[in-house]
Amino acid sequence: MSEKNNVVKKLEVYALATDPIHIGTGGYNIGRVDNTIVRDPITNIPKIPGSSLAGTWRYYVVLETLKDIKDKQPDWQDIKNENGDTIGEKLENYDWKNLPSSDIKLSSWKRFVGNQIMRIKCAGQDDTPDKNSDSEENTGHCGHCIVCKGFGFSKRDISWQGMLFFSDLNILFFPVFTYRGTKWITTSSRLKEIGIEEEAPSENKIRTKQGDEGHLNLGWLYLEVESRHTFCNEIKICNKQENISFTLTPEDVIIVPENLFSHIVNSNLEVRTSVSIDPITGAAKEGALFTSEAIPRGTIFYGEIRIFDKKGFEGLEEKLKPLPKDKELEDALKDSKHFYETLGIGGMTTRGFGRLKIELIP
C-alpha cells in the first residue's frame, strides 16, 4: 500500500458579490424582516451555506458540459450494444467512438466517459431515487457522469457521497460607508483564515492603513482609529474571459474588533421593501408589503473546496468505476464558475440579486 502525500486538493474560493446576495432561510420571521437570510448561529453573521454553493455549482457544471457535448452523446442503444458487463464498462469501451477528430480539443473533463450519458437531470435533485443506477429510462441522476461522481448521487442500488466537499462562504471583507468613501471591514481572525497574521485592535477601536485619521464613521458607528495595520496584500478577483478585475488595496481595508464585526455587518445589510403583486389582477395586494434583507454588493467572501481522491473506494463498488481525476474536477469547477456572473446564487435572482465573481486558487 503506498502512502501518498497531498491526497486532498484544497481550492481556496474568493467570491465578490456584484449584486446583493439573498440566501433565504425560507420564510422564517424575525422581528420586522420577512425574508431573513442564513446566518451562522454562533456569530450571527450572514453567510452563503456550502450546500447552496454546491447545489448551484452542480447545475453550472452540467450546463457547461452539455453546451459542448449535447450533440455528441451516443444513443443509449449504441452504449447498450457495446461489450461489457456493467454500464460503466460499456461506457469505457464505447469511449466517444464517433467523436470527430476536430473535437479532440474538447477538454479532458468534458470527455469523461460517463458524460456520454449525462443529462440535465443530473443537475438537480434526483426525482427518481427509487430507480436503479443502470436504469435505461431517461430519468433522474445518471450515476455515471462527472457531476454524479463528483457531487454525489443516490439511487436505489447505490449511494455515493461524491468527491467534492464545500465549506460555507463566510464574509471576509464587508463594505461600509465612511466619510472617506467605502471601506471594507474585516477582523484578525478572518485574515488568519487566509494566512495573514494581523493583531486585533483594542476594544471599540479600529486599525487603518494610514492609522492617523483620529476617528472614522463606520455606517452610523463612530470609532477611534488606534493605529496602522500592516496588512499589505492586494485581494484580486478577476475574470479572464471578460477581463474585469476587482482589486482591494490595503488602503481600502479596516480591521475591527471581533465583537464589533457582527454588529457592523448586521446594521449595514441591505433591506428592501417590496409590494406583493397579485398574479391575476397584476395589482398590488392590499397590505402585502414585505421586506427582504441581503448581503450588499461589494462583499468579499472566502471559503474552501476540497477534492478527495477516492480511487481507494473503487474496489468497494464495481459501479463507481471509473472515478474522475481530481484535476478533471478542478477544471470542471473552474470552467463553469463564470455562470455565477450571469445566473448567480440564492433567491430573487430575477430581481437583480445573487451574482458573484468567483476566483479559485489551488
Binding site: 500500500m1 503506498s2 502512502e3 501518498k4 502525500n5 491526497v7 486532498v8 433565504g24 432561510t25 425560507g26 420564510g27 422564517y28 442564513v38 448561529p41 454562533i42 451555506p49 456550502g50 450546500s51 447552496s52 454546491a54 447545489g55 448551484t56 452542480r58 447545475y59 440535465i120 443537475a123 438537480g124 435533485q125 431515487p129 427509487d130 454525489g152 443516490s154 439511487k155 436505489r156 442500488d157 447505490i158 449511494s159 457521497q161 461524491g162 467534492l164 466537499f165 464545500f166 465549506s167 460555507d168 478527495f308 481522491d309 477516492k310 480511487k311 481507494g312 473506494f313 474496489g315 468497494l316 463498488e317 433567491g347 435572482t349
Partner: protein
Amino acid sequence: MCWYKLVFKQKQPIHIGKFEWGVVSETEIFIPGWTMWGALVNAYMIKNKAKDKNEIQEIQKDFETITNFFPSFDGETILEPKYKDGKFYLGDYSAEEFRYKYVKADFKTAVEPISRKAKDEHLYEFEYIIPEFYWIGLIKIENEEIKNFFEGKKPEIFIGGDTKYGYGLLKLEDSKEAKNEDLENWNLSNDGKPNNKTLKNFLEFETNIKFEGELKLIPELDFRQNTPVLTDARYFVNVGSTVDSSINISSYKIYKGKFIRNANSP
C-alpha cells in the same frame, strides 16, 4: 499493549444522525464507535488506496476495535456519561443542559437548482454540536500501517452528516499509547472486555443482566444504497448505565463502541 488514545479537535459543527422527527434532524451528543469507525476508514482509504474488496475488508477490520468518543473541554478529561435521577448526563450537564448550551440548529430549505424554487416549500431544522470540544476515545491497533496513519501527518476526518457542506471536520490533535489508567478509566480490559462499572460503550442486552439506566434498540445500517439496508438490530444497555457485577464479562468484546457477545463473529 497496542491501545491508543486519540484526541481530536473539533474544527466544524458536527451532526451525528439520531432521529428524524418529521422535519427535525436531531443530533446525538457523543460520537458512537461505529460512526467514528466509518470516518476513520474513509479517511484512511483516501490516503491509502486499497487494491480490491479483500483489502478494503482488511482495513475495515483494522479499525473495528474502537470505543465511543466523548466530548472534552481541555483535551484531557472527558465529560463522563452517566445517569442521575433517571436522566442522562455528560459530566455535570444533563442532556438537556448540554443541548441548550452546545447544540444549535440551522433552518434550511431544500432548493431545486433548476427551478431555483424551494423544494416543496420545505423548511427543516438540522441540529449540530458547535465546535467547542475535543473528542476522545480509544482504539486497538495491531497493524503498523495504521499506526503510521495516526503518527504521521495528523489526519483530518469528517464525521456524521452533511460533511460535504461545511460540517464534521475533526483534526487529530494527539495520539499516544493508552496507559493502564486510560483503559481503567474507560472501564475496559486490555483484551477489549468490559469491567463492571459505568458503561462508556453499549452492552448487548441479555435478560439476566441487571442494570440501572436505559435500554436501546440499535440498528446497524449499510448506507451504500439509497434506502439503507438493515444489517443488524439488537438491544443494548445504553452508555452511562451501571451494570450489576454478576454478568459474565468474558464472553463480551468491544466492536465499534458496542460490547458484543461472542464478538468473534459479530
